[in-house]
């Protein structure tokens, strides 16, 4: 694994070969009709693809009865969340937009400084609009289904606050550590806006909101635990190593649904008598964290192995204590390298939260199934529409994050041989 060593000498940007521009006819001959077999493939694939696109397009634009989504859009987003308290969700979104915007602005400022000092290649030209494409598509489709002026205005407000915070953060250029604190503080504050002062506890959360909360909460809580496990697995103390390996292999060897069953049916028995069983959402989150921590540990272990042994030896020669070597020398270098892996894990957690539907939580997938049983829509075969909508929501989110993670990977210079 390549580790980046910061030097003052500018890294020469790799030269890209000049782009070949061919006139359409030659392009087609080269890319579509090179040989007889190529022509055959092009025709077969072209017909099949055209048929599929036609069927899907016709279904989405003409045949599908989207009324079920239009009338249930709030249901799909928040499920049983009390409608009188919805302002809390919007408030939380505003807080999140502000803090995340500030964080993004800080990284942008850092990046600009690195480029100016010649420590990094100038970024490829990708406009902000193109990068945010999938997320924008998702939001506009949701708003289109909502058909509500209020929701549209509030969304625009969230966007404006986010962009404003981004600009502000870029000018402010905070220390990265402080920016991370701001983001974490924003997440905690947003949580407080929804729950505190007679708010709504997360037993009553649902829909897409619950999906996102479980994924974000899962990865944030699993991260420290996973780092500890990874350090334990790399420890020179055999007893610590054996226990950590056993934990990691146990949870990586069983399917998530078995761990969720454990959370749903078993946690209650593991508490001393007199202690109330935590709500199903809490138990599902505990299961997700226990499960994800094992995977995070393996990702972090990869990063730890990428830190050259000379770093540790140099630190030892300087007389640093083992704790300091770990926290000041090894982890900063290791964690930088595992960010793309962690994003990948977050994406799969985001998709895997759909499994909590099986133990009965009303997240996005479960709501999509339940609304087809409403009296107005019963037995009309609308499951295709609702599942298509749910997969669209999952798809745009996961696709967007995976594209951003690939960008990040290129930027950090990982995966290059």
């Amino acid at each position: 694994m390549a580790t980046r060593v910061d030097t003052l000498e500018p890294v020469p940007a790799p030269e890209r070969p000049p782009e070949r521009r061919l006139p359409p006819r030659e392009w087609a001959r080269e890319n579509l009709f090179g040989t007889g077999f190529d022509t055959f493939l092009t025709i077969v694939f072209g017909l099949v693809a055209a048929w599929l696109v036609y069927r899907l397009g016709r279904f989405v634009l003409v045949d599908a009865r989207w009324e079920i989504i239009e009338r249930n859009i709030t249901n799909l987003m928040v499920s049983r969340f009390p409608r009188d308290e919805l302002w809390r969700v919007w408030g939380a979104l505003l807080v999140l937009a502000a803090s995340l915007g500030l964080g993004a602005g800080t990284t942008a400022a850092m990046r600009r400084r690195e480029v100016e000092e010649g420590r990094a290649n100038s970024p490829q030209r990708a406009t902000a609009l193109r990068r945010a494409g999938p997320a924008l598509v998702l939001v506009s489709v949701l708003l289109w289904f909502a058909q509500s002026l209020q929701a549209t205005l509030l969304t625009i407000a969230v966007g404006v606050v986010g962009i404003g915070a981004f600009m502000f953060g870029r000018r402010l250029s905070l220390q990265p550590r402080h920016a991370a604190l701001v983001v974490l503080g924003g997440i905690v504050l947003a949580f407080g806006v929804v729950t505190a002062f007679d708010g709504v506890g997360w037993e009553d959360w649902g829909g897409f909101m619950l999906t996102v909360v479980l994924a974000v909460g899962g990865i944030l809580l699993a991260f420290p635990f996973g780092v500890l496990l990874a350090l334990g697995r790399r420890s020179t103390l055999p007893a610590v190593r054996v226990v950590c390996v056993a934990y990691i292999e146990l949870f990586r060897g069983v399917p998530l649904i078995a761990v969720l069953f454990m959370g749903a049916f078993m946690i209650g028995f593991l508490l001393p008598p007199g202690v109330d069983r935590p709500s199903l959402v809490t138990r599902a989150l505990i299961a997700l964290v226990l499960f994800t921590a094992a995977y995070v540990a393996e990702i972090v272990r990869g990063g730890l192995q990428g830190v050259p042994a000379g770093q540790v030896e140099a630190a030892q020669a300087l007389g640093l204590s083992p704790v300091r070597i770990t926290t000041r020398i090894v982890l900063p270098q290791a964690l930088r390298n595992v960010i793309p892996g962690l994003v990948g894990q977050f994406i799969s957690l985001y998709k895997d939260t759909s499994l909590v539907a099986i133990i009965g939580l009303t997240e996005l997938l479960n709501v999509s199934r339940n609304i087809t049983a409403q009296p107005d829509f019963l037995a009309q075969g609308l499951i295709v529409e609702t599942l298509l909508f749910a997969s669209f929501v999952y798809w745009t989110g996961a696709y967007w994050m995976s594209r951003e993670s690939q960008r990040l990977e290129r930027r950090l210079g990982l995966g290059e041989r």
């Binding site: 090179g34 078995a258 995976s402």
Partner: protein, 390 residues
Amino acid sequence: MSTVATTTRRPPPWRNVRVLRWVFQAVFLFLVALLLLYLWETATDNLRRLGIRTDFRYLRQPAGFAIPSSDFRSSQSLFDAILVGIQNTAKVALLGIVLATILGVVVGVARLSTNWLVRRAAAAYVETFRNIPVLIIIIFCWLGVFLRLPPIRDATEVLDLVVVSNRGMVVPWFDKVGSGAVFGLVAVAGFVLAAAAWIWRSRRFDRTGQPHRRALWAGGILLAVLAVGFFATGRPWVLETPERGELSTAGGFRLSPEYAALLIGLTVYTASHIAEIVRGSILAVPRGQTEAANAVGLSGLVRLRYVVLPQAFRISIPPVANQYLNLVKNSSLGVAVSYYEVTKITQVSISQAAPAVQAILLLMGVYLVFSLSIAFVTNLFNRRLTLKGR
């Protein structure tokens, strides 16, 4: 010199690293043991207080539920039910692995095609299915496709061979009419002969360098022996095509909608991941290899078959094995479409008053055995194929 004296002096125990290591490990193990003991004690206490048994003898009780598409009766024990569940898991996982590998390799190679349309179609496939939860794909196949097919009365028949309806898909299958034992012996003999031919051709190739064509030889011998044996033993099996009745079908092999949905969902999803691995592995083969093959005048397919793919194959073993493991674990999603694999059976047995703690521990144990055995096999395989030395 005086340094000799300082190195032989022992540090006091509270600063001696060796002592500290022992102490730390002992304390750590003690705490872990304490935690486990505490969990165990509370669990058994709680169970006893609620009058739930704390041993595994509940497995001998009658199951109390039947399993669709199997001979399992509700009077049989829970233990038998779990065995049937393990069989069903294996049934969907093995076929899924085979299909996902084929589809994944095809799509992965197609992603690197020189044909723009093929390349783009493969990319669209991968990006679509990689980013949707596998559970949604499975449920979509089940509720959105198979259960919405016409009832048997109006079932579609493909070439009079396959009957497709909302009760599943019925395909032609072999029906046993005569004694299979003799034919089994013939088949074993055929395999032995084929293996012998393979070895003979390989050795001859090593000695003389003439083309071995061992796959052709071995396959031909096997087919010939099987064909001769099949007719000589009086055709012990006949291929039976399904007959469509008013309310049911007779003959053939029925794939239930649940099985088909789970199988297709797992295949499609895993194939999209395998395709990415295949593509990455092909790209990871150093470009000099392709160029060298070009320089010695190998054509496209030959280059792929003898230079690129063997090296890509070696790179791709660990990640593909990981995908196989994921597929086995994801087969637990049968629980969402009521396919009675081991997870569904555990869920049903818990809802029928089997003790939850033991049932879930047993379930985890079953999957651990699955995972560890797959990991073991791939490690063996990997060790044989990794380059030695260098």
